[in-house]
Symmetry: C2
Subunit: 356 residues, 2 copies
């Protein structure tokens, strides 16, 4: 990640710097089916690059019959597809781990759902004539920096099979408008169901390769590791997770919630990259009851849920817990890993019912 | 602020929670004259409220001859004015103070410039017949919570004189589109030149009063205080400040900049709420040289500056320092206050020239 060991200590200056430039989604924004652009979570490894759209090209090369150099206009003139997609940072939940891996210190808020529009990657690859002995497709961004002592452009790969899935897009619009710079303008990859690191922003080149890609962001970062020397397993699809809009109103500093006694409608969202969400449980002081699932927004978007909570005076801890169709269920205890990836430990919201 | 004393200790969990939901502007976004909506800084005291635009009304009442209840459509049908305005959080720089006041832990990034559109407040006040013995105008938002043990809606006041200034708007558009929820939809106050707490979001009521307003956000929060018991002085206009786009490229974790030796063009922005910026100095290891000021964007917007830096190999600390026409100049040493307001201490950017 960056050479620092996980710590039991307090937040470091480096983590504060990262928190000040990256952006979580305030949890009350869970009320929107589609997250307003300015509320979507944002994680930028290096700097947002400066790109001149008129001279920008997408280069498609490597193990292909017909290398391509496509302008934005050419991509926009291709068949388009629009869909709501929930995207989450693989590091979401990292700062809740003990010991805490030192990197962007997300609690639970690194998520958002946008209406993305673009052209299917598959057809572009077919037209380029990707050869049958291709193992992976490598996606390169214009963002450049140093991480873990390695200078590189941000690059990630997908197996040819995943890259050819029909829902994978070359996306140029978010919520009905051209991408804002921080979301990858003019073009980004969009891989629905996978954690956000997969959806390479500021995409400039696509390369078909015959051997597995071993770049920094693939082989070193974004691994589920027990310890630094463990090669680990690559991070891929989003783990199942539910979040709630914290009910009542907050204290500015502590964010503790104050709630009136009585029936309190609680709402939230749940998603999983691997399968449909089939169950959400609502927890009050560790007693669990099934919540009501609302109509799905789309195959790759979060699903709403609601619960009528009868709030009794006193201090309580509220939780929510999702299960997907493949049987994956959020853990009640942390599942630790060295980089702090995929920590879908259930959310807990301390509330005080009745006037304090 | 919230009952915690300033500390020499590390960042607290409360500060991390605030940093995860509020949003700074990544400094490379200083390259844009107008900050993309999703990159503008954001500070929300309580929760972003849920407002139904169709039933929303702006109520104008108190010491007026003709109380008003205006729909958004009525406000949009009034004369409109559009202008670029730089807005900064009064707490910008707080986390750089020693000891550190415990609240939203901004470093230097709580700023942005948008094209705001709305209708002048002055004409609305005149039509409502504000009486001549009015001392202040109180602006009330729909956001509600607890701060410092006091439950309240967010409210701030302006003297009648400031409220009647021609540049003060009731703003319904940002960057050519209706306000996104987090920026105050459907309507917010916009007071150019003043720190952001003045520009009340989710505006629902305007009340003319004959005595100075003593609400929490006016009389307790947003004060320049030496200590907690000091009544202090109200925070008002933005202090003079310059920021630079950090040159070169970053290390992901430390954000240290790596720069190639040679001539490096450095760019930045400078602003002051009190007077025009007339000078920006660029500092290399405490040696200062005047930077070039670029053409102004508007009376209330930041001004670009540039400097051709001859980067010699080695480690350096870069700085920038603005001066305004009223003679205000950024300090080289912290000017401490109890709430951590208006800390315009010069920015410092550590860089390494040549390969590390």
């Amino acid at each position: 990640m960056g050479g620092q060991e996980p710590t039991e200590g307090p937040l470091t200056d480096e983590e504060l710097q990262l928190a000040a430039r990256n952006r979580g989604m305030p949890l009350e924004a869970l009320r929107y089916d589609i997250t307003p652009t300015g509320l979507h979570y944002l994680l930028v490894h290096f700097d947002i690059p400066e790109i001149d759209e008129s001279s920008w090209r997408l280069e498609i090369a490597g193990n292909v019959e017909r290398p391509q150099s496509l302008s934005l206009e050419q991509l926009r003139n291709r068949p388009s597809r629009t869909m709501p997609v929930t995207m989450e940072c693989a590091g979401n939940g990292r700062a809740r781990l003990r010991p805490r891996p030192v990197s962007q210190p997300w609690l639970v808020e690194a998520v958002g759902t946008a209406e993305w529009a673009g052209t299917p990657l598959r057809d572009v690859l077919v037209e380029a004539g990707v050869r049958t002995d291709t193992a992976e497709i490598v996606f390169g961004g214009a963002d450049h920096g140093l991480q873990g002592g390695v200078e590189h452009d941000y690059e990630r790969s997908l197996s040819l099979g995943v890259a050819m899935r029909p829902e994978v897009l070359l996306a140029y619009e978010m919520n009905g408008r051209p991408l804002e710079p921080q979301h990858g303008a003019p073009l980004r990859l969009l891989v629905p169901g996978w954690y956000g690191m997969t959806s390479v922003k500021w995409l400039t080149r696509i390369t078909a390769v015959t051997e597995p890609f071993d770049g920094y962001q693939q082989a070193i970062a974004y691994r589920y590791q027990r310890e630094e020397t463990d090669p680990g397993e690559g991070v891929s699809r989003m783990r199942v997770r539910a979040l709630m809009l914290p009910p009542g109103y907050p204290d500015f500093l502590t964010r503790r919630r104050l709630v009136e006694p009585g029936i309190v409608p609680v709402r939230g969202r749940a998603w999983s990259g691997g399968a449909d969400v089939v169950r959400v449980e609502f927890g009050v002081d560790d007693a669990w009851t099934d919540a009501e699932l609302l109509a799905p927004l789309g195959r790759f978007a979060w699903r709403g849920w609601s619960f009528q909570w009868e709030a009794a005076p006193g201090d309580h801890v509220l939780s929510c817990r999702a299960t997907d169709e493949a049987g994956n269920r959020q853990p009640l205890q942390q599942s630790w890993n060295y980089q702090g990836m995929g920590n879908n430990l259930v959310q807990t919201v301390p509330v005080t019912v009745g006037r304090p």
